[in-house]
Each structure stands twice: as structure tokens, then as C-alpha cells.
Assembly symmetry: C2
Homo-oligomer: 237 residues x 2
Amino acid sequence: MSIPEEGRKIVGVIGGMGPAATVHFMARVMALTPAKRDQDHVRLIVDNNGGVLDRNVAIRGQGPSPGPALADMARGLERAGAELLVMPCNTAHAFADEVRAATPLPFIDLIETACDETLAGSPASVGVLAADGCLEAGLYQRAFARREVQVRLCAPDAQARFMDLLYRIKSGDLGEDVRGRMRGLAEELLAAGPQVIVAGCTEVPLVLGPADLATPLIDSLDALARATIAAAQPTGG
Amino acid sequence: MSIPEEGRKIVGVIGGMGPAATVHFMARVMALTPAKRDQDHVRLIVDNNGGVLDRNVAIRGQGPSPGPALADMARGLERAGAELLVMPCNTAHAFADEVRAATPLPFIDLIETACDETLAGSPASVGVLAADGCLEAGLYQRAFARREVQVRLCAPDAQARFMDLLYRIKSGDLGEDVRGRMRGLAEELLAAGPQVIVAGCTEVPLVLGPADLATPLIDSLDALARATIAAAQPTGG
């Protein structure tokens, strides 16, 4: 089965947060697409802009907002031909309203998509691994609360270690030490009882996979990739 | 050392030929950039359009030209904010004049870049692994002839096997059999005497690396990645 090219929508990707996560997202969209030739793939127009201001710093109120830059990127992608938009960065969704307001294009929300995929298995309690800014903005807490599901987060000291790992990954360190520490953090979180963990930060899947844990791990980036492929189809989005 | 963000140019990437090669190109630009944080990376705006008409079929005169679509993509990238253009597909350079004419932006030519990098070691003879369309259009033969360097190509039967491998790679097959056959083709070509081989097709580096051969292998995609990083710098082209 191939996605018919005719009538398929062009997807604009507001990317670069971080640049490696965006490249990984593109690779995942490709891997999850049933394709036999170049022409079977979803057309992605990607602004891989690592220069977007730090989302975590802005949410903490310690730096200017990246919202205007994200809105500019959305408008640029629309001018380049995009017909729907995605943003493969969880924390940046704190500024999703500015992206939505920037163009009339449909926007596939990563947080909502990841929540829906997580709840397909009807877990009573969900653990979330996410960056400070994403948690401070309450993105996953609110999305799960609307669905009446309890959310477990890392303890404060573990969260600090998570942020250290995050910036190591962004600096290009995907080594065994980082992988082991990320798995350790996930296991600490699981000890609090959740039945599933959401990798709610696009850097996490770069060093932690479902095979690393006994409990199901929902990759928010893969959830977005699947939703993107579906929405790009002539009958989708 | 980081590339200063201020004054750095935004690079437009005319991509999708094939989509995996473009994602690989993005990963190589990142890997070859001295970066410690998201903000250190070159900003790439990428149109990863697998729907571009088959270049090899068009050059053979058996199908319509992809030139107008490539020109449209160049204009779309300019509208999205690109300040210089690259096209990580060797064969598509048969239509480079249409891309150059589409916008006033500088265009970094992959073929010229790969030739320059190949001749840094002053080889007397160069072997080229490239797709039918790239060879029929004479892209590498002309570029090396202008530099007074002799080019060796695959024998016709080997070239047919090369094209089979190419379409297998495009279908997602990066397995051991494809790798072994590609290495075998390179070794057959080397038996004709060239002192260096140019991987003049963006799919080749997906299955063949410098460590696979005793003779130097020039990755045209890496050459373009290096030229792209240099040109994006405030002092660059």
C-alpha cells in the first residue's frame, strides 16, 4: 500500500528544537510510511532552525519568548507551500497558540496526539518524562487532567538530572553513559507506580527506546509522526 | 569554536531526491558543524519532496522534466527565507541551470564541490560511481574534463547492477547484501586503475563508507555538507 500522491497534503515542520530531534522526526515519518519509491513519501517542508530562543528559559520568565520566531517560521512554511503544520518539540507547545494564530493552516498538536496514543491502552496512571519548561507550562498535566488521568512526574532532584542529560544530548552526546542515566531516571519514575511512561521530550527517544524498559514507553515523536502521515493523506487532517 | 549566529546565512535545501539522502545530508551538516547547543547549528530550510519526477527517466528522454518542479521549490525556499541554495542530489544537477535561473540566490553546485574535494589529493585518474542520468548528462565527465583529469566509469553490465542497487536503496533496503554488492562494484571499478573513487550519487554513502575500501572514497554529499557550512558563515559565499 502506498499513500496516493494526488491530493496528498504538504506538511510544514517548525523544527530545530533541537535540530537532531527534527532530523530524527523526519527519519521516523519516513520509516513509518509504507513507501517503495521516492514518490511514495510525504512531502515535508522543514525549517530546521536551531536558533529559536531557549524555550525552558523563556517559560521560567528568565528570557524573551520564542513565540514570535515560531510564528514567523509558520508563516514562512506557509509561503513555501505547506498545507498543514507540525512542531516536533514538546516544550515549544507552550507557544502553540502563537503558531496557531500565525496562519490559517491546520496544526497537529504533539501533546494532544501523544496523550491520545498513551491512553489507547487505558492506563490508570501515566508517568511523564519532560523538560522543565514543558512541565512548568503544565502541558501534559493539563492534557491528561482533561482526560481524567493521573500524571506522575520525576522528583525534583531527578528532574534536575533529567535537564543535565537533555543538554548533554543536545550537545551531541548519545553515548552509553547518557543512555544508562536516562534509563535509570525512567526506572525511578516507574517505581512511583505509573503503568506507562510518555517520552514527552523529543530528545528522550534519541537515547531511550521501548526495548530499554519493561513498562510501555510512548514516544511522543513517533505519535506525531503517525498523526502527520495520517493527516497528509487525501482523506486526512 | 562555534559558528556565530549573527549574520549567518539561512540555507535552502532542494531535497527529496531521495528523501532518505536528504535526511542523511541534514545529519551530515549537523555532524560536521562544531556545535555545543541548538543555536550553534546552521539553519536549514528543507523541501523534502519525494514527488519530484524521476531524473534518470527524464534525462533518457522517456519522461517529462523535473526542472520546473525544482525551480518552484527554489522559489518556495526563497519565500520561506533561504539566502543560499543547495541540492543534495547529483543527477538533479542536470537541471541546475533551471534552479539557478529561478531565484537570485547563490547556488552551491554539488558536482563542482565534489570535484574540487576529489582533486585536493591530486590523483591522475578518478573513478565515478553515479546514476545513469548523471552519467548520460555528462555531469562528472565534463567537470573533471575542465580540470584535465581522466574519469573511469563502470562497465555497462556493472552500471546496470549499480542502478538495481540504487532503486533497492531507495526502497529502504540498506542490508548486508546491498552493502556487499556496492562494495563489489567499487572494487571492480578500482581494478581499472583510478586512484580515488567519487561516490557521485547520494544513495551510495548510505551503504558504502571510506572504511569499506582501500582506496580513498570521496562522499559527494559530505563535500556539499562542508561547502554548505562554510558558505553559511558570515564571511562565506
